[in-house]
């Protein structure tokens, strides 16, 4: 008898806590699970929805809440929005649907596990968080770099790591993760090593993202005398066209 009452009591307490879970009526939060966001612009031609942080927010990958980003002042936001939009306008609605990208979150001083980063893609929520205060000289190219991670996450089978690794010189080995080494430099290398930047040497997916971003941002201005880079560019082009055969690598100015 006591056991039965105890069970009923326990169930009542549990139900009480379930029922008073704070109600998050915020539509944006319900959609992408990031708090403190407002709409910046949603009626864009390629239907990307731009959101911005009104207050700092903390997010968690898995259990740890280790992603931080802060709100920006309006002036910086307006300026960087134009740059971000100009770059992302190069991707068609059809392509964005195929790669599962819909929301762009603009905030500043984005970090993951206290390491600053240009962006954090999440293909499940179809969201790309961008740090609008990221390194000025590489900011625009970094947008395409982060976008490539969304592509890669959606088409892992297409971007085969073993094939890619075979493009490199024998004995070369990537690090275990993008933050496991001190290869952070994003300046262009011109040493015939088969990599665009020092950061390319960190992991396969960062290397692919660097190739993609250089290809998209610098387009035909890239001097491909490095045969390894040449092979990598051909690989990326081929795979992107497999995703969308109408993809245009050149800017329509």
């Amino acid at each position: 008898m006591f056991k039965l009452f105890f069970m009923i009591f326990l169930r009542a307490i549990l139900l009480f806590f379930i029922l008073i879970t704070p109600l998050k009526a915020d539509t944006i939060y319900n959609l992408i699970k990031i708090p403190n966001l407002e709409i910046y612009k949603i009626n864009t031609e390629n239907r990307l929805r731009y959101l911005y942080a009104t207050k700092p927010f903390i997010l968690g990958l898995n259990v740890q809440k280790n992603i931080n980003c802060f709100n920006s002042d309006k002036k910086a936001l307006d300026k960087k929005y134009q740059i971000v939009k100009r770059n992302l306008d190069r991707y068609s609605l059809n392509f964005l649907k195929k790669i599962n990208l819909k929301y762009i979150v603009l905030c500043e001083n984005l970090s993951i596990a206290e390491i600053n980063t240009a962006g954090i893609p999440n293909n499940k929520t179809r969201t790309l968080i961008l740090d609008i205060k990221f390194n000025e000289s590489h900011f625009e190219r970094a947008i395409h770099h982060e976008l490539f991670h969304i592509i890669n996450d959606n088409y892992k089978e297409l971007f085969n790591k073993s094939i890619w690794e075979n493009f490199n010189k024998k004995n070369f080995e990537y690090s275990d993760c993008s933050t496991c080494s001190n290869k952070w430099n994003l300046d262009l290398l011109d040493d015939g090593s088969g990599f665009f930047t020092e950061y390319s040497k960190s992991t396969v997916s960062e290397d692919m993202a660097e190739v993609f971003s250089h290809l998209i941002f610098y387009q035909d201005k890239i001097n491909i005398e490095d045969s390894i880079i040449g092979k990598k560019i051909l690989f990326i082009k081929k795979k992107i066209l497999q995703i969308d055969n109408t993809f245009n690598f050149l800017k329509n100015d």
Binding site: L15, I18, L19, I20, P22, T27, I28, L31, I42, K102
Partner: protein, 214 residues
Amino acid sequence: MISKIKISKSEKIILYFLIILGVFTLASLLMLKNKCLFVKNYDPNGIKFNNPENIAILNTNCGNIIIELYPNISPIAVKRFKTLIKSGSYDDVAFHRVIEGKLIQAGDLEFGKKENLDYGKVGSGKSGLGRIKSELNGKFKYDKGSVGLARTFELNTEDSQFFIILQDEALFEGEYTPVGKVLYGLEVLETIKFVPKFHIVPRPDFINTFKMLN
């Protein structure tokens, strides 16, 4: 010896005033308790519809909500919705999630039925017919009174649960599969029980019946 006390004129006025005040207070209390009192109940039989085959009537305690379904925009979702309506599956199902002025959600056929409402699980139940694909490419504006199919965090997980929005929601466009729009009875929707700050409505209102017009 006092034979009789006569009520003065002013005392009479006060007495009448108190009686009137009492009656008025009682009547007000009764009126306030009846949330349906000033809500218009629409009779679908007295209304001419352009597409009567796509008209669904959701009946609640305060009256009818008349919904037009859009099979041209979301053929798979509307087909599922009609199947469940025609089979009477939505009858006696709770409006389990109601956010004041924002949306009402119902349609959990597994844990939302009046006879076996499970507060711990309502919102996660299935219809038994399986999940259907999200239909997000049609042109549809999510303004007040729009009806859509609810889903989990992932696309292509729509089943039987649906929602009706009580305010314009531009962000819902391209996110949730639309099924139709409320033509009449938005004021009925506003009487559905909600509890501020509660995620799931305790002792919720229920759908009486949900039927197709034809």
